[in-house]
Symmetry: C2
């Protein structure tokens, strides 16, 4: 922030805000000013919320979700199906699933995907715990809900290989035309997959 | 955040982050997750920085700047010219001026512009204090550095009217082609202003 003639408290606030994803130096300055204009309505509450979250939130030792309880409230919810695990890359994907309300089982968060390019190996991900969970005789199905990218699918294949022989059935999300999507804007891979996987009407 | 099955601490954090300018609901979720992944590197430091700023930063009673000192470090700097005041709309504009290092006098922050549409009247802005400062016999010049918008220029005219008779000379920033700007991308108003205000080469 050289050249910005401000007090060290403001400089520090701006440089920390600029580390948030989605905020660059300019938007961090805007956010800092907005916060400074609303000390009681926004700055103090946000400070408290961050402090509380840092204090209380931990990573669930079963599934890898972030929650104030450990095991998390999804792992311990009595109404959720314990016989089915949906494997996702990241907590953001768990949130996306929960928003869609399309799944009432358990989750398992890998914390990323295998990637030769970024040097991410199976032991860097939360895979061993998943294979251990698969040895539970009550578990019937594992749904692989990784992103439909090369790394996501590589990871899915790796997990499928390591779950074979456990007696658990492994499935993946369907590929096809997004609901509300227009064919003209879709890539060829999606269209040909949707064509191959066509269903009776 | 309905449908997002998270603990209240995370929900509260997301809803506060979403109030920052430049962050919508999706980017607030991303920022919250990023913070939760870096409790010690980012979440606690940001909480502390916000708390400290809320505690220590106030609005300068002379110029309206935000600073940990009051009067602010610009108003009290011994090396800065006390005979000239640059009037800006907002603290962000003061920061922009300081980044450019083009001015070594005092500032006065209006806190906005007059706006019939938004119902912002002269008494809603920091104008009375400016006129009082103009009665200082040491003051020689007031530079009006409002944005080159209709509201900015209306405000500039209003202030000019109220400073007439104080003996202070009033100036405004030059209009013209931005340095590095291409004529083809400029609006007609800027080009014709630059043409009228042309300078000998």
């Amino acid at each position: 922030m050289s050249g910005l003639n401000v007090s060290p408290e403001i400089e520090r606030l701006i440089s920390l805000l600029a580390k948030l994803p989605g905020l660059g130096p300019r938007s961090a300055r805007r956010a800092a000013l907005d916060l400074l204009k609303k000390p009681d309505a926004l700055m103090r509450p946000l400070s408290l919320a961050l402090g509380e979250a840092a204090e209380r939130i931990s990573t669930c030792r079963i599934c890898g979700n972030v929650d104030s309880r450990n095991p998390c409230h999804i792992c311990t919810a009595p109404g959720r199906d314990k016989s089915i695990i949906c494997v996702v890359q990241d907590v953001a994907d768990l949130w996306a699933m929960e928003r869609a309300s399309a799944f009432k089982g358990q989750y398992h968060i890998l914390g990323g995907t295998l990637s030769a390019l970024d040097g991410i190996r199976p032991e860097d991900l939360n895979i061993a715990a998943l294979i251990e969970r698969a040895s539970d005789p009550d578990l019937k199905e594992v749904i692989l809900a990784m992103n439909a990218t090369v790394d996501g699918q590589t990871t899915a294949h790796y997990i499928t290989d390591h779950l074979s022989g456990t007696g658990v059935s492994v499935s993946r999300l369907a590929h096809g035309v997004p609901v509300g999507g227009e064919l003209d804007y879709l890539d060829d891979g999606t269209i040909s997959t949707a064509m191959k996987s066509r269903r009776p009407f």
